[in-house]
């Protein structure tokens, strides 16, 4: 699992870890049953405070994306999502709002943005491994 942190981001570090693990699961780079690095190992690798990694793993466990088994490790679960549809829509719409604002700012037309979105959807559906 490869996590890349943006040190000067306004997004808190634990949130960056959560978002990237979610993306990798959605893109098929992490599959159900895959074992994640331990909290200590990922903390040392990045490097970030162990409590920050713990917080990210706990959040993802709470959302049902990961399961933590005492003494055994942390795994990607096989349930796609335990969040309600409305909650999932809200999260995606928040991300799209940012993309839309950026597109207007950079003078990207609505058609171009739609096309980009379609390309991204196809790429994720294809397993997200095209750029590895």
């Amino acid at each position: 699992m490869f996590i890349r942190l943006e040190p000067s981001s306004a997004v808190p570090v634990y949130r960056q870890i959560v978002d990237q693990i979610k993306y990798q699961v959605a893109a098929g780079m992490l599959r159900s049953g895959d074992r994640l690095p331990s909290v200590r190992e990922l903390a040392r690798r990045l490097p970030v405070n162990q409590n920050t990694v713990l917080k990210a793993y706990e959040l993802l466990t709470h959302e049902g994306l990961l399961s933590r088994r005492q003494g055994d490790g942390t795994f990607v679960t096989n349930t796609p999502s335990v969040l309600k549809k409305s909650e999932r829509l809200r999260k995606v719409s928040a991300t799209l709002a940012q993309a839309a604002a950026q597109a207007v700012h950079f003078e990207i037309s609505a058609d171009e943005l739609h096309q980009l979105l379609n390309e991204e959807i196809n790429r994720v559906a294809a397993g997200g491994r095209s750029d590895e």
Binding site: L5, S8, A10, V13, Y14, R44, R45, V48, Q50, N51
Partner: protein
Amino acid sequence: MNNSPTPIHVENLRKNFGRKQVLRGVTMDVPAGSIFGFLGLNGAGKTTLIRILLGLLRPDAGQCLVEGIDPLIDAIGVRTRVGYMAENQTMYGWMRVGQLIEWVSRFYPSWDSALAASLRDQMRLDADEKVGALSKGQTSRLALLLALAHRPQTVILDDPTLGLDPIARRDLLRDVIGQLQDRGATVFFSSHLLYEIEPICDRVAILHEGRIIQCAPVDALRDQVKRIVVTPMDAARLPELPGLLDVQAQDGQWSLTVNDVGAARHALAPVSRSEPTVMDLNLDEIFEAYVIGRREAPHA
């Protein structure tokens, strides 16, 4: 519940150099097992406070205890217990790495030679190399080794990443997590760069103009310090706004940085003519708002 003393306890500490008041009543507690970021601009007095903690400097007033020991009474007791890495540490350049490690080891009853050897290995330091010939990154790794090999429960690092290249800096932060947090040690880490130490800290304190102006968990700072963009309002109401850190005027809008977004929004609700926009900030922006923020109404 164990009764071990607070690793670092500082109470109303004052220090003047001539007429310059460097510390003007500093109070803080560093919780056991935390990685505590101690932030301030260059010259804010971080090193002065650290030197007082180690009994290298006498305060004019106030008290501090390091692992329950008063450095004014037993400075040697503090220094043999604590791991300390000084700012811009200079070492005997004519010694070889192995000789220096051997020499320093004699000062510490609890020195762990096996740990020192394994750290030297992990840090890729050559025992036969002259200390004076080491790079800046290698020198700081050696200083960290010397601060850790007696297995201290409390470690004080004075701006340890100063002057390091990005790779040496990352290695050092990795050692702090891997060697210290992993075994539950308390780390007191001073720096003038918030974004650099944020990822590894649980908690930060900001020293400014001789006082601690903020001491909070990193996540709480992120959650509570926000920028609120509003249409300009009656300037006379500004002082009533709770926790105001900075005001800027831009493109006919006011941007207010506040330290408690909930309280500020509540206070703004009756006076603001439009729904305010709330923006997240990165830690450099948060730090800047605290230390150089303007709290008066802008001339626009």
